[in-house]
Point group: D2
């Protein structure tokens, strides 16, 4: 096949992916009113409208400005409003004040999305030079878009949760009742293993380079910790026993008077939790979610175990197919679902909840950030955060992989963040 044809094929596929992924972001915002899309519930979260605009700004800034100079459907005076954190691109509106930007409105932002999409698609269909470079940035933009799809959902869930009328993002979907299988520990030999993205396919810079790591033998829990198990920890006084907690976690929990995962509340004697479907009774068989690293770590200590390191996690997940309760195209699966009691050795590595690891988010040996402004994408956050692995029910299936490193501060609780246990020795 001639190079020209290969390129056409590449950009054809890419254009398809572009249309599909960009459209899903708008679809995710569909159930929301203009007011919903405006709300910023805390400095760490962003308005839906901001996500819609920022992802579009990304394509304007890193694709159109570079590869189609002068084509600027995204107004330049909006640039500072929707630049997230790229210091080298120009000034930025303060993160905590995103919720005050009422103009442009959601309609204007969505129109602008379409205009930028037309421009990018037109570029993809006509570009002849620097095609690989262009494709690389477009792919990065789409992976970026998918990250914001998840954030859009966790952020709006947080915003709605603060409304005492407990509005739901969507109507409840029927879900089969299933029991979680008993938790077992699956032994792993460890040894000198390789982690990091293994091939030339897309990966973020922080997943590279692939490198060797020596692991002592360990065992890993066969599934995520369930709400029922976590409730037993609460019942056993887990939040009142300092010996179970890291010092920072204990201090934070005392300061904020915490006694359960973020969205949990007692109603009529039983635990309920706020979800995309509104307030529901806690299902003891689904994975526990919305816990901080500190809570995950304390739970593990209480359970006589520990959290896995990210190298252990990746070593275990490396051969496993990416399947599970992830965000699929019809936006059906954005709450937790109990898994069947299968005979699988290991389940739920992907989907349902991101799993906190015992690893701080740090550069891999030989890490090199991307060149230019895109180098700010990941590297500069390698301080004060912990790694999570595996994706959640809010993660698009084709976005996650075994080497994927998600990261949040140890106190963060508004993500779909849960717990998988590990142990250094056999029980």
């Amino acid at each position: 096949m001639a190079r020209g044809q290969a390129c056409t094929a590449l950009t054809g596929t890419l254009a398809g992916a572009y249309e599909r992924i960009r459209a899903r972001t708008v679809a995710l915002a569909k159930p929301l009113s203009a007011e919903d899309m405006q709300v910023q519930s805390m400095p760490e979260a962003s308005p839906t409208k901001w996500h819609l605009a920022h992802t579009t700004w990304f394509f304007q800034t890193f694709v159109l400005d570079r590869f189609a100079p002068g084509v600027a459907p995204f107004a330049s005076e909006w640039s500072a409003l929707f630049n997230s954190y790229y210091e080298s691109v120009g000034p930025r509106h303060p993160r905590a004040a995103r919720g005050v930007i009422s103009r442009p409105g959601a309609d204007e932002v969505i129109s602008c999305r379409h205009a930028v999409d037309d421009a990018v698609l037109s570029l993809l269909s006509t570009a002849s030079a620097r095609l690989e470079e262009l494709a690389g940035v477009v792919v990065l933009g789409l992976e970026h878009e998918q990250q914001h799809q998840e954030l859009l959902l966790t952020d709006i869930q947080h915003a709605l949760s603060l409304n005492p009328t407990e509005p739901a993002y969507r109507a409840p979907a029927p879900r089969p009742l299933r029991r979680a299988p008993p938790l077992r520990f699956v032994e792993q030999p460890g040894g000198l293993v390789e982690i990091g993205h293994p091939d030339s396919g897309f990966a973020f810079d922080n997943e590279r380079p692939r490198h060797r790591v020596y692991l002592e033998p360990f065992a890993v829990g066969s599934r995520s910790v369930t709400c029922g198990e976590y409730a037993a920890f609460i019942e056993d006084g887990g939040y009142r026993r300092p010996e179970l907690w890291l010092s920072d976690g204990w201090a934070e929990q005392k300061e904020h008077d915490r006694a359960a995962p973020l969205y949990w509340a007692k109603r009529g004697g039983g635990w309920h939790t706020f979800t995309a479907e509104g307030m529901c009774p806690v299902d003891p068989d689904v994975p526990v979610s919305s816990v901080s690293f500190y809570e995950a770590d304390a739970y593990a200590r209480w359970a006589g175990a520990r959290l896995p390191t990210e190298a252990e996690w990746e070593c275990v997940a490396a051969g496993v197919t990416v399947e599970g309760n992830l965000l699929d195209d019809d936006v059906a699966a954005c709450t937790l679902s109990p898994r069947a009691a299968t005979g699988e050795r290991l389940s739920q590595l992907f989907g349902d909840v991101w799993e906190w690891t015992a690893s701080a988010y740090l550069p891999y040996p030989g890490f090199r950030p991307l060149d230019g402004a895109l180098g700010e994408y990941n590297g500069k956050f390698m301080s004060g955060q912990m790694v999570l692995r595996g994706g959640s029910c809010f993660t698009p299936r084709d976005h996650v992989r075994a080497s994927y490193r998600n990261f949040f501060p140890p106190s963060a609780r508004w993500q779909m963040s849960g717990i998988r246990l590990a142990m250094s020795e056999r029980r």
Copy 2:
């Protein structure tokens, strides 16, 4: 005239006022999008939508719940959302978190307004018992509504001002260029005077009882201080000279690095200011606005004068007709306008800007708050605030009067707050 007829007349007039005043609030929100109406720019300010809903909650709670039990177009689950500060009425959503309440949306809130309006008007046309009591509460509700009309405008102006794209609330209106007349000091004899609301017409509880106050002779500035005069204070190093400032004001100004009124910014060498019409060059002949009590006080000291006490102010304003640049029905006058160089002894007492006084907001001798929950309306705020007098370009003309006491913390700057000078002795 029989009592029945008098009542009908009363409620007829009242119904007219009700319709007119309630409609104006909605009209003021007309230029705003759903997103604009959602924004809360700081804890002290509220979203437009909240103003629309809270004023309606007021009529539900204090009129319908009392005089038409069971008639509840205002959903009870919204009650906590839109209760401002009435501890005795029930729980309240935290003030600083009003901006996260995306549902009900503006459309629903406005529908609900109409339903409550229908119910109140129906009540007014049919009520036969407790008519005076009903009329009293409805009048209070309308005065309350008018206060929120002004707050709606100052709050949205603040919200829009934080948007780097500098959106305007409305298109600029042509305004004649006028020169401010020279400032003179008009002498007043003082002596034993009476202040407080003089008759049985409507007044807030904090304006009563009328009582005697002894005033030493004083002089009062013939008009408000202008932007040009204030710019000279800045130019003269006013913000860098601690001897001009109260200690609290100096500390606050240093902490926040202040050097001009709230909305002022230097553009190309000249002062500009953010207004309802967007960013405009400062007109040196209009009254200075958006200054704190501390700034007003420092300016007065710099000018070799002082601020008037509220008793002095009221004594001067008592005989003056309420006219000036106030908010009229077509929403035309909500920016400052320069006054003609008239031969008036005293101008601008009413309208343009509220004038900071040297008086702390405290109870008058013999003050009695209203009974029940409405007693929380004014009395409990009599601590830590300063009195302002006279109304602004955002104040409805039929809302203000000589005895009217507005009050804000000394650091507040987002109101249309300006300066009138006074002196204890002749110059």
Copy 3:
């Protein structure tokens, strides 16, 4: 008598007062260790050593530097350390960081006091020109010294109270058990009265000028509110009833979870309080102390009364001799003492506790601060504070008078601050 002789007499008397008052400050610090004198327990309080040094700095700066240039026993490099708030005198060490200044040590500071004292006394005995001006500043310095004597005691009491071992400032003194007489309300005619310092004797600038005030008839409580009465307010749920509180007071109390005066704690079922003599059972017959303005105001509302204005207070106290439980020379009376059930119409106006008034601390009509840096002494604090009257058991008897205006923020609780009731009408 020739002018020369008059001057000698004046400075002779003044020198005596100087020696006596300056010595008492050192005597008050006598029971304290070097460590005690170093502690700053909160930004609002100062170390004992700082009080010893600052009062000396005052004489260096305002007396020696002016009247004996070149005589500088107080090292110039210490000047910034011990300047309290005089912006026009030069730079200042931050108030909240006074506790980190370990050098100079207490010994050096006291040596320096003696050297400055020698220099001032020598100046007093030899000065011939500007004698009245000199005497004026020395008198101001001594009044200033006496203010710091009280602060030294309230500040060290606060510091010791934070030590879980509950150390005492001094050994308990035997005190007769007495019963408080029943509280009566004494009617006052009001009318056009004069307040402010009446003659040419020493007074702070904030007590002047004397001026007319019109008072409606009122009644004033015959004595201070007692601990027993205040305990009944607590018992009656006073701290849990928002309708009794100013909005700011309610917010502050909720935030800090307050339920009793500052130093009170329940021990074995009964109230105890921390005093200069350590932790003691609360005596129900002594005046309640260490309450904020908010608490005083809430108590008054609960009791169906209100606080007096400062004009009412002064009008009542004008003819009363300054006597009561004040700080006398042998440092014996620095705790509260129950007063005998005398037949007095009004008791405890002076001594025991400062009484919160309903008046904000504002300038009197025609107020003029002192010239130069000393103008910063009082005037610049006329914002955000409330007036207290009457002196406490920590106040030197010859320091207080009917026109004396003490002032603190409404939330302050570490002073000997108590409650006297008033009413606008007869009961």
Copy 4:
């Protein structure tokens, strides 16, 4: 040799070490006044007196209470005052309020030290049972004591630095002028190495277990980064270039307006720095100190390098003798000293400054904290901190070793913390 004799020998040696190490702490406090010893300059630092008392509390609590019940020279009511962070031992005085504890005074604390020392020495000379367990805890107590010796010095340096009179901890000692040799990068093969404490000698629990780590080839700087080199980074705009900084570091630096290491200030055009000997000109040839992890990381990026991981550091240091500019017995070496231009491949690994590593402080694989309350010593701090290696001029020589893990939050700057560079590939 019989077991009894071995024990006697062990306890004899231990008693000698005990006397020597305990005496040194007191000797380090010798130059300080009672006031100096009282000061707490920030929540993270402690008063000298607190260090003297806390280390003594440690021996009372973990040695005497366990092995000599009833022997309690350390008053039980002081226990809460001087418990640092052991939740399981009982209540604790808040860390940030250590500076308010004026009683007991320094004299009493030192007397108490002697009494506890007598009791411990007597126990050591008479104990027959549980001797190994006793010796283990005493050794831990002495290592703990040595950690507090360093903290005592860094804390008092910080406290004195806040005094505008710039008092010195001690008189300047003459120091030879030496030039730093050129910085070279020394290549290391990496591979599968072992780190962690290698034998049964004393080590903290966090240094164990020894375990395998795979290292890619790397190179390490031949010496610490010097003040001269760091000044060049400043000169080159290092503090104004966001691309050099981690996001958290950039935010912190902007917030606090940082532009140089903690103690540096420009004087007359040149950099000076506050040291134990007071304010001195910066010597360009001594190691830079008092930088945060963020500053170290930014410097490394500017220099085209990175920080070493702790495994790399330990791998390099494993075979190196512990010598350098450390705290020796005559308390002479507690400032930085320039090293001679020797022919050493690698110098300054130990002493002068702790070196920030790129490693977060996390548990080693298989980490087990000590049993009981002493398990709180290290493990619960394994969150939010970075590892430093190598010891400083304030570290006792017999306290540090290649496997020693010091840890501080990335923003901490008041330790003797400096920079060693590393690189992943050859230059």
